[in-house]
Symmetry: D2
Subunit: 196 residues, 4 copies
């Protein structure tokens, strides 16, 4: 059953790499720094079903969990984040099921990222199935923060000491300031008349 999700990640990665290479060629600009894909482990799927109050069955996993297949797209600037999201959403064989914009509205702990749930068709040997994929798109700085927060969260078994929690929030604000500063510099550069 997890194989179909793996195939969906292969297809979505191919699509994202095509967009990135086209932009690289046309504008000499790579909006995507790098991609990471992951399949939820059977244990995480079970935990999530239990947490949501569903019986632990394959049918329930397929029906109720939409982030079994996940791809993370790391961009340089938050403008790239929305640009990639729009280009993927418009593709004829992609169905956009849900958007959660944690950049416009960060989570209470400071987490920022744009989450899309999309569905794509996968052609198997004897039939075609529609498979959902969660796409998380964020900047380099947001990703750095999220990786550390993730490690801290698991280390403290979900109950992060409040001292560390508030420092994490401050770091998130520092990151937002940095992203803004870097973005503004990039804008100034592109508006300047090149000297060449």
């Amino acid at each position: 059953m997890l194989l179909n999700y793996k195939f969906a990640l292969d297809e979505i990665s191919t699509k994202l790499n095509i967009l990135n290479e086209e932009l690289q060629y046309i504008q000499n600009y790579n909006p995507i720094e790098h991609l990471k894909t992951r399949i939820k482990s059977p244990e995480s799927i079970r935990d999530k079903l239990v947490r949501k109050g569903h019986a632990v069955t394959t049918a329930n996993a397929i029906q109720h969990i939409q982030d079994i297949a996940g791809v993370r797209v790391i961009c340089s600037f938050s403008t790239d984040v929305y640009r990639i999201a729009e280009m993927i959403g418009k593709q004829g064989d992609v169905t956009l099921l849900e958007v959660k914009d944690y950049i416009a509205k960060p989570k209470p702990n400071g987490y920022k990222s744009l989450h899309l749930i999309v569905q794509i068709p996968i052609f198997l040997t004897d039939r075609c199935v529609d498979v959902p994929v969660e796409i998380q798109i964020r900047t380099i700085a947001m990703d750095f923060w999220a990786s550390l927060e993730h490690k801290i969260y698991y280390k403290f078994n979900e109950s992060v000491p409040s001292g560390i929690g508030s420092q994490l929030k401050e770091a998130a604000e520092l990151i937002a300031a940095l992203d803004e500063r870097m973005f503004s510099l990039n804008e100034q550069m592109q508006e300047s008349k090149a000297e060449v």
Copy 2:
């Protein structure tokens, strides 16, 4: 312009790998030994346009040359060759434009292979284009022969000495005999009641 053909190869390779991995998982059997992709060089495209009597323009290349993007699929047995061809041809977003069966009817020099021309949609940043791809499917033994024939043909600048030409044909017959023998052994094995 060649970029779109490169993208089409990425998409077709993803599709073929999905079929192969699904068969590996379901039947513990990899019909595809390996894949090779190639883009025709600008020189070969020009030569082919001249040979066909067309002016050398990008528009003519797009319109008249259908094997700019090529993928070669190497299988263990010729039954796998037709099986892969059928599975690709049935996919909802693939249009089968042409089939040339050089296994049923080998070329005069002894060449054997199944050629398909298919067309697939490629989603670019701002539009979708249909791109043709030539898929050559053949057995390990046919591929071995074809690689050597190709080197000989270029070495002698297309006019192969008749002595070498007739030896190539004999080798092609030896290969056909070998493929048959190996296939028959494989069939006998699958029909036997396993001892396990």
Copy 3:
């Protein structure tokens, strides 16, 4: 413990790819068709220890089993097989522990391949370890035969019916004839004065 063997395969693959790319560049000739690597499964390691009469311990596996890490190198012609073997054997950081030439002396069932056991240093975070690797080098045709023989052997749980066994041997002879014919054609081509 298996990690060190995986690292040894990474190092040997890098070495083999370098040789292949250099030959491709200098002589426009790829002697290596493709590489496959594999790590022996814990079950196979245990079975082999038992078969050899050793207690099943990690220390015994390290001391008595030299093909835990294996790489298979597939070449076009048997001359390439010996050429690759010689180039690897001469490298300053590679120790050649053993050579078994099943091409000169095929196994009773018809199996042909050149086997080397080499040892290479792997630099870990805090020390350097010497790791043995088995390198199997053979032609495309020998590999085709060996894959089928392997499937048949496991299907019949090691006791292949004599009818099938003798057909396998005949196929091995057909393959030897084919390899010779293809090699002779390749030689004739290289000796001919090119027409270009």
Copy 4:
């Protein structure tokens, strides 16, 4: 000639990946976020020779330019940067030729990174050559800054307007503050008694 540098990058990448995988396995911790490799273009090599006052010859390039092959190693924290540098420097077949620590002493424009020049042996088909490689090791945040600075520098043809230059320096300070904050959080996390 550039081929040997490409081979050196293959070897160094294999070595770095082995270190990263071993740390991942032993400590469940990936110090290396990702690797990027590049070969200096013939134009850049020529420019650098001219700038240094040498005639443009292959011999001079080999003798006087040590960063023809470059690998960039991106780490989470600056402690990882020094750890990776130490582990590479200690390997028996690696010669450390030079260290430039732009983290301890940033460049005037704010650039931070640890640069090593190392030399490694490459085994070719008929001989062994020693090839120099520049290894740039830095944190995610330093890398983000350096990518933007690089784009700005080329856009303005090396004479960056002073307004933009001073904003870049401020961004470099913001990044240093961020790296410190994130590092301190990571330390606090590791020192805390885990709740699990």
